[in-house]
Amino acid sequence: MLRLILTRIFLGCLTLFAVTILIFAATEILPGDVASAILGQGATPETLAAFRIELGLNRPAYVRYFEWLSNALQGDLGTALTNKREVLATITPRLINTLFLAGYAAVIAVPIAIFLGIVAAINEGKWIDRAANIVSLGAISVPEFFIAYILIFVFATNLGWFPSLSTVYSDMGFWQKIHVVALPSITLTMLVTAHMLRMTRASVLAIMSQPYIEMAFLKGLPRNQVILHHALPNAAAPIISVIALNLAYLIVGVVVIEVVFVYPGVGQYMVDGVSKRDLPVIQACALVFGGAFVLLNTVADILIIMVNPLLRNSR
């Protein structure tokens, strides 16, 4: 077990390393660089040249990459090329915000999705199953900014229950943050619930048709015991995978939500960094996002193994 975890972590680090090289290369291939991006229409050949020398952009790509890598391994993520602020100091509060929003949405979405998924599976074909499917599919088919605007229009502009700007600041109390971030969390919940719900339903349905489940019912076990102790553990593997995937999406894929609700997360930081070709910023965000994916997938893999005795006890 321990060997398994260590192997996974090692492979995860390799993946991250590959990700940083890919992102660095991709950014280099894009036309333009920090100098031309910042100066924009204001760029003349002299100001561009001056800018590049000042930032060390005239050195070859691999030199700059290894310099970044050696600094990053020591914990120094460098300073942003555009505004000279330390990347680590800027990204940390944004990462906390992103995790807060993701956690907030997950805490609502995951229990609802699993509960409704099980209910839908048990009552297959009945109205509650159909209703759950239609509503969740509808929510996931609509673009997130559309849901967001409708929620803002109804709850913020008209009813005034929640603010339309979800910007959080460090001096805000916990419950104030909960209130301010409610609308984006609800939007995200609507986005991710469908996938988890349908996977839960499909997985449980597949198990429920197995002979040993029928045997458990024939033995006289109550329904919830059958589901919780016999069906779910076997249905768990795909459900855990889908939850991990959606949690990763909640961290990585919410730039549009950040823009619409003006929420200071890592997504907006990365987009701004890419449009200005600010490499330290882009690399740091890539590390954060890649790390989130790797971590969540690793935890998911471990959980799946722990839940399945066959895999747990092998070798």
């Binding site: 031309s36 910042i38 760029a43 700007l165 823009v259 003006v262 930081y269 449009s275 910023v281």
Partner: protein, 531 residues
């Protein structure tokens, strides 16, 4: 009509505190869309009722910032940072609402005949927020950071005309230019030129002479300012606290204003502003035709576009009114194929406004002897609605029998890859500080930004002569001729100049139209107060 009283309240104090003349007042009021008679009667009604009140927290939500922003004046490019800068710093020259330069930290100036040698007087008795008194060395340093050999400041280009600058005394500066320039004080009003103490480099903790001090700064998110208490300008810097939130999305900005989360926003959406106007708690301020100039520019050295008749066909074949109605809901004025707007004193009022004429377009196209398709490169990266405008252009050209292809380019890297390279592409131009600067930068033979590649020695001579011409009538005639040359022979189809649309809570006073930028020249935090 429901906004009449509100507008009256806004314009009153202008008459009292800055002593603006009746003529300028009417021009101002007309910028907000009032008629001449209404404006005239407003002026007559204005009383000394507009004394600014102190206090309150002023929250602004603005587009034009990013997570890569900095308070280093050499990096300013967009509205959020400029507005922030004017809260903590002062400029050297500011502009009154009609667009004339007036002294700020350089309180007055004079030129020796020929407009080559200038003396500027430094305002006395001004203290920075750290207690230091302002003197000529601070001014020299503040200009110097934009001029020094390896600077990356975009202001370097406009300051290149300075051949020598020195302090004659702690309160006077002498500037010698490489050539005469009667508009030089206007150049000193560029938004990059703000004043910091001599030798200052700690941009994270700005020290300035402005009305507020910086309390916190999260780039791309928010700036918070606190009133410094002893501001040298009477009746300005009236709020206790100012919060400047960066809200890039227009729907989020609009919702924030409507729900009262912010008191002021910039760049409202033209398509929803009519609905906003119905809201009694809001005051929508429209500044007509001083915004960005939207153009389709052809390079006259490219094959095909070197033919003058083809260029004329391009200019006659665009339906300006339709684009303004459809894309901007009427919130723009037609451009006349050059980049000056009607508020510039040298705007050519003799030239008729070119209108859509498919017959003339077809005639010139035939006369050019060319056939085949014309390709127009456009992108959302040029400006948000550039693709929509291009598509309407395509339709109007089709009616003249000319095939226009619309080529959509990627937004990312548009300014590096498409502008100045493709033979026919979409460009926007921001307002320049003076007619001279406009003609030199956009159409001058020596300019790197001459995107139509139209370099005509006779034009340059005309601009140079006008630059030192102190006789107003002669100067006007010269600039009129310049505009005729550009509109007739140049490669640019400038079809519209947008209005600025600011939104304010009705509690905010001191909001006036300004000839230069929106949000009262981006100084609303300094100039405004709560009723």
């Amino acid at each position: 009509m429901e906004n009449y009283l509100n507008k009256l309240k806004q314009l009153e104090p202008l008459v009292v505190t800055s002593g603006v003349s009746r003529r300028d007042f009417i021009q101002l009021a007309m910028m907000t869309g009032l008629s001449v008679t209404a404006a005239g009667s407003l002026f007559s009604k204005a009383e000394a009722a507009g004394t600014p009140k102190k206090g309150g927290t002023f929250r602004m939500g603005m587009e034009g910032g990013s997570a890569t922003d900095s308070l280093d004046p050499r990096t300013y490019a967009d509205s959020v940072m400029i507005a922030a800068s004017l809260a903590v710093y002062n400029g050297m020259v500011e502009f009154d609402n009609a667009g004339n330069p007036i002294g700020e930290l350089l309180e007055s100036w004079e030129a020796k005949p020929g407009a080559v040698e200038w003396i500027f007087n430094v305002r006395q008795g001004i203290k920075f927020s750290n207690g230091k008194t302002l003197d000529a060395d601070d001014i020299l340093y503040s200009i110097g950071i934009h001029r020094s050999g390896d600077t990356k400041s975009p202001a370097k280009g406009i300051l290149a005309q300075i051949s020598n600058i020195k302090a004659i005394s702690p309160s006077q500066i002498a500037i010698t230019l490489s050539g005469g320039n009667a508009d030089f004080p206007v150049i000193m009003g560029d938004y990059h030129l703000v004043v910091v103490p001599n030798g200052f480099t700690d941009w994270e903790n700005p020290i300035g002479t402005g009305g507020y001090t910086l309390a916190s700064f999260e780039p791309g998110v928010r700036l918070v300012f606190k009133n410094r208490g002893d501001y040298w300008k009477e009746g300005r810097a009236n709020f206790d606290t100012v919060e400047l939130l960066n809200i890039q999305d227009v729907a989020a900005r609009t919702a924030a204003l409507q729900s009262g989360q912010v008191d002021a926003v910039n760049r409202l959406d033209a398509r929803t502003v009519d609905l906003m106007k119905k809201n009694k708690d809001l005051n929508i301020l429209r500044t007509k035709g001083t915004g960005n100039r939207f153009c389709f520019v052809s390079r006259v050295t490219s094959p095909g576009f070197s033919n003058k008749d083809l260029r004329l066909a391009l200019k006659w074949g665009i339906d300006r009114e339709k684009i303004i109605e459809s894309v901007y809901s009427g919130y723009a004025v037609p451009g006349n194929d050059h980049t000056l707007d009607a508020y510039n004193p040298y705007y050519n009022t003799d030239m008729p406004q070119r209108k859509y004429d498919p017959d003339k377009a077809a005639y010139h196209f035939k006369k050019s002897g060319l056939n085949g398709e014309i390709t127009l490169s456009t992108s959302e990266g040029a400006w948000g609605s550039a693709v929509d405008c291009a598509q309407l252009y395509q339709e109007s050209m089709a009616k003249a029998g000319i095939t226009l292809n619309v080529k959509k380019e990627s937004a990312d890297g548009y300014w590096s890859n498409v502008w100045l390279k493709e033979p026919f592409c979409a460009v926007y131009w921001a307002r320049r500080l003076s007619a001279d600067q406009t003609f030199t930068q956009v159409y001058g033979s020596g300019s790197d930004w001459n995107d139509s590649d139209w370099r005509v020695p006779a034009f340059d001579k005309l601009v140079e002569a006008a630059r030192v011409e102190l006789d107003e009538e002669k100067r006007k005639a010269q600039y009129f001729e310049c505009q005729e040359m550009i509109a007739e022979d140049g490669g640019m189809v400038c079809f519209g100049i947008t209005d600025y649309l600011d939104g304010y809570s009705s509690k905010v006073m001191g909001t006036q139209a300004h000839a230069r930028y929106d949000m009262n020249d981006l100084r609303i935090a300094e100039k405004g107060w709560f009723a």
